[in-house]
């Protein structure tokens, strides 16, 4: 079963980490990810730029409206996500707990994938 782990945290906090702090967190996460890769659990994953780099296309009207900034003003922002392939929710929560131990703060939303299209550029 495919799940996404959506990573939420206060970007004001995360994007004011010093380079050293950032590298330390990424290093700890990398270790967890390496373990997940060995177990054949980890699919694509990515980290997003801060919401200040975001643009929103409001398509409830014609023509759609282009707005600077994220879709919603929230206390915590979507900072990135993992796609994982595991047996069930318990296993997905287990993976999220492993990641959480390496990078505390904020929240992970575990959400099953309904449709997955692999990157068509990768033959």
């Amino acid at each position: 079963m495919l799940y996404t782990i959506l990573c939420y945290n206060d970007e004001k906090v995360v994007w004011s980490w010093s380079q050293e702090e950032d590298q330390a967190v990424m290093g700890r996460l990398r270790k967890v990810q390496d373990g997940l890769i060995k177990r054949g659990v980890l699919g694509p994953s990515l980290r997003l730029m801060p919401t200040t780099a975001a643009t929103t296309l409001r398509k409830s009207q014609e023509p759609p409206l282009v707005l600077d900034g994220p879709f919603a003003e929230t206390k915590e922002q979507l900072l990135g996500f993992y796609v994982i392939d595991v047996e069930n929710l318990d296993a997905a929560l287990g993976v999220a707990r492993e990641l959480a131990a390496a990078n505390p703060g904020g929240a992970y939303e575990i959400r099953p994938v309904a449709l997955f299209n692999p990157d068509p550029r990768v033959a």
Binding site: K12, V13, S18, T52, A53, L67, P104
Partner: protein, 412 residues
């Protein structure tokens, strides 16, 4: 979750909003600061036990304001303080406050806080010191170290700045559109000043972290004014400049010129973010000086090696900048592009009329010396380089010019 480092980062992130609101309540910087500090102390006691609040800024505002009111009451009647456990039970008390802090008020609070620090009556050095203390929350000790002065001297500088700001009476009403734009422009200038303090320092100097702090402040401004192209431009400009940080100095501390930098050491993530912000800015079709300077920086970032630089595009951007913001420094920078396109002779001609106005400017004589040297006029180049050394603002700048001088010796 509740380790001290995380709490510290959360307090720092919440600081501008909380301080901005407390300044609006108390209309006094010292009182706002005291209330904020008290709230932080309580957070350090409270959050490890009860977990972090949903909205740290709202928590700090409420607790800070209550603590200050308690202090007044206590000194008046010795009424018992409410327990912190009560305050920690946030969900009821915090939500209505957060609602009242609607986005626009919150935005004006933070802008007012930042604008308070860059009041036109304050000299630049005081603006920077005050902003670092009040908005960024750096300790007096940290700021003193950054500016190589003693702690009491910096304390005095900040106290004097606060007194001046207090006397200046910045209005607390919601600003009109024109006033808001004026405040934003002043705050952007100050943010770029902070950046340059850090950027012009060597990697190991105490001031170096100020560049990162300025970028943090710019991202804060950008969240408040997401559709303001000049804020996008300013943030992009700083990100693109900061991307070269690791390549700008040799291990010995000497400056490495843009064209000699090891471009593999440029930070690709910062470049990507800077370029993404410029993409957004350009869509607004409202160019301004920060956007143009960011566009120039982006052209350098795009060139895989120095020889690939599109100097013609840089020249036309400097041309645009000259018309927006006429300044001899801009013309000097344009001359560097002209030297690449038309040769050093033409560039030298272009900067000659600037000499009087830039007679105290290190970079003028550095550039003049370089043009003369390229033309083989070594004796004149030596005179220019000597002037540059005398005007150097840092040991790294002086050392850089000395290396040019060393190269001149075998030529004579």
């Amino acid at each position: 979750m509740t380790d001290p480092a995380w709490i510290d980062a959360t307090l720092t992130a919440a600081r501008p909003a909380a301080m901005g609101a407390l300044l609006r309540y108390f209309r006094d910087l010292d009182q706002a600061e005291e209330a904020f500090q008290e709230a932080c102390l309580r957070a350090l006691q409270n959050w490890p036990k009860n977990g972090p609040p949903r909205d740290p800024a709202a928590w700090l505002i409420l607790v800070g304001r209550n603590a200050a009111l308690d202090a007044v009451r206590r000194s008046a009647r010795h009424v018992e303080l409410p327990s912190d456990e009560l305050l920690s039970d946030l969900e009821d008390s915090e939500a209505p406050l957060a609602e009242r802090l609607d986005d626009s008020q919150y935005r004006d609070d933070v802008l007012r806080l930042m604008f308070t620090c860059c009041h036109p009556e304050l000299p630049a050095t005081q603006q920077i010191a005050l902003a670092l203390r009040i908005v960024s929350g750096l300790t007096v000790k940290q700021i003193a170290r950054a500016f190589l002065v003693t702690e009491p001297a910096m304390e005095q500088r900040i106290t004097r700045a606060k007194a001046r700001v207090g006397a200046a009476q910045i209005p607390f009403e919601t600003p009109g559109a024109a006033e808001r734009a004026e405040r934003l422009a002043a705050v952007m200038t100050m943010t770029y000043l902070i950046f340059n303090e850090g950027y012009s320092a060597g990697l190991d100097e105490g001031r170096a972290p100020l560049a990162g702090e300025a970028i943090r402040l710019a991202r804060l401004l950008l969240r408040l004014f997401p559709g303001e192209p000049e804020v996008l431009g300013l943030t992009a400009l700083m990100l693109l400049q900061q991307s070269r940080r690791a390549a700008r100095f040799e291990a010995s501390g000497e400056i490495v010129l843009l064209e000699d930098q090891d471009r593999s050491r440029w930070d690709r993530e910062l470049i990507a973010e800077g370029v993404a912000l410029m993409d957004k800015a350009v869509r607004h079709n409202r160019p301004g000086p920060y956007q143009v300077q960011a566009a120039i920086a982006a052209i350098h970032s795009r060139a895989a090696k120095a020889a690939d630089t599109d100097w013609a595009a840089i020249d036309s951007l400097y041309n645009a900048l000259e018309s927006m913001q006429p300044s001899p420094v801009v013309t000097l920078n344009r001359a560097v592009a002209i030297a690449k396109i038309c040769g050093p002779g033409k560039a030298l001609e272009m900067i000659a009329p600037l000499e009087q106005r830039l007679s105290g400017y290190f970079h003028y004589f550095g550039a003049k010396g370089a043009f003369l040297w390229q033309l083989g006029r070594t004796a004149e180049a030596r005179v220019a380089f000597d002037r540059a050394i005398a005007l150097a603002g840092s040991p790294a700048e002086a050392a850089h010019i000395r290396r040019h001088l060393d190269r001149l010796i075998p030529a004579e």
